[in-house]
């Protein structure tokens, strides 16, 4: 922890960056929230513990945050992968952001100033679902189709189309989302059952092979819809079918931006 604070003070004092995006204590003892540290002495308020789960990479593309100047960001492996994925989609340039990489156990902090360093950093940490997540996915996959339909319909029925899932997703950076296109109106704006189903499927498909599984969408959902399961399922499929895993490289292509002539499927007639 001291290591991180020192690093932040150092970067700000030297003028290497103008702001550091990190975590500070939140409203209660269970919550952490984002900190935008701009003065070296503000680094004292930084924290780094199991509460700090939000994927702060979502702030890197926010116009108001960009105005702060050059940024450094405290990044757990998932956030680091997000940054690489954003880089591979040409949303971040090499050297634009200094990443303060935090090891999975939350103890060691390393300054990663280039994408190459970032790639090495994430390469040391296995990506993929946790055992707990796999169990949950398997539970739904194990249902009959009718049960799955009923399960998702009851979940989607609560959706109020606040789009908090989209706002919280670092990969949802389009300045104009498909749901805001109205000529033609692809996705109904209204939160009725048809509109909700289409929104959730379109959201998942647009993140297919790009999702880093940070879980921020599900955390942000005020209605408690486990919508990260949809993107998890797609990530598992992309890995199984194409060996594609998002967020490993700043230059790589993602599952749906490339193909192999011998991609295997078992359903095309």
């Amino acid at each position: 922890m001291e290591e991180l604070k020192n690093k932040v003070r150092e970067l700000l004092k030297a003028g290497t960056v103008q702001a550091v995006i990190g975590y500070r204590a939140g409203s209660d003892e269970k919550t952490a929230r984002v900190a935008f540290v701009r003065q070296p002495d503000e680094a004292d308020g930084l924290i780094l513990d199991p509460r700090c789960t939000d994927n702060l990479a979502v702030y890197l593309l926010k116009p108001e945050v960009k105005l702060l100047g050059k940024l450094a960001i405290v990044a757990r492996p998932t956030t680091a992968r997000t940054i690489l994925q954003l880089a591979s989609e040409n949303q971040l340039a090499d050297g634009q952001v200094i990443v303060l990489g935090v090891s999975a156990d939350g103890k060691a902090v390393v300054e990663l100033a280039s994408f190459e360093a970032l790639e090495k950093f994430v390469g040391q940490v296995p990506a993929g679902l946790t055992e707990e997540e796999k169990v949950l996915l398997a539970k739904i996959e194990g249902m009959s189709r009718e049960e799955r339909w009923a399960f998702w319909q009851s979940e989607f029925a609560r959706c109020i189309k606040c789009y908090a899932c989209r706002a919280a997703c670092p990969m949802c950076y389009c300045s104009r989302c498909i749901v805001e296109s109205n000529q033609p109106q692809w996705i109904p704006v209204s939160p009725h059952d048809e509109g909700n189903l289409e929104w959730h499927l379109v959201r998942a498909m647009h993140l297919a092979g790009r999702c880093l599984n940070c879980g921020f969408c599900a955390k942000a959902c005020p209605m408690g819809i486990p919508l990260n399961l949809l993107t998890q399922r797609l990530a598992e499929e992309a890995k199984a079918a194409f060996g594609a895993v998002a967020g490993g490289s700043a230059t790589g292509e993602y599952a749906l931006s490339m193909f192999k002539a011998d991609d295997k499927e078992g359903f095309i007639r």
Partner: protein, 151 residues
């Protein structure tokens, strides 16, 4: 459009086929000029390439009351735009898995490669899909979404 057979009153599935301009559409045309008789349940919508067949089209088809959807284009290696169908294939693999996970009946979504020379394959495909979806009956689950959730 009625889903029922006017003569017998039995259920007749409504199908839509999204096909590419260069292979399947020409193949379907060949089926016609060859005077092949096949099920009349399908409405064909021609698009430039399978790469253009947005997955949303499939959802919209169901939302508009279709009981089944066919998506078809050039065989791998034969794409008029060289690689559109390869991209489409990847998308279908993921999309089909998502549909299944969300509880949508993937027995109602059919993907195929039908070349310009395969008029007979097209006729056979439409016959088979019509038969299969006829067995499944109308897609009540999806059609039941219309208007649901509106106070």
């Amino acid at each position: 459009m009625e889903n029922d057979n006017k003569a017998t009153g039995a259920f007749e599935p409504k199908l839509v086929a999204f096909v590419c301009n260069w292979c399947t559409y020409v193949g379907a045309d060949l089926a016609g000029t060859s005077r092949l008789k096949y099920a009349s349940n399908v409405r064909v919508i021609r698009l430039p390439c399978t790469g253009r067949i947005d997955f949303m089209l499939i959802l919209k088809a169901f939302a508009q009351g279709m009981d089944g959807v066919i998506v078809s284009g050039c065989h791998p290696g034969d794409c008029h735009y060289t690689v559109g169908n390869y991209h489409a294939r990847r998308r279908w693999i993921l999309f089909r898995s998502l549909l299944d996970f969300a509880g949508i009946d993937v027995r109602r979504v059919h993907f195929a490669w039908v070349s310009a020379a395969e008029g007979a394959k097209w006729a056979d495909l439409v016959n088979k899909v019509s038969g299969e979806v006829r067995e499944l009956g109308p897609y009540k689950e999806y059609q039941g979404l219309a208007g649901k959730g509106i106070a």
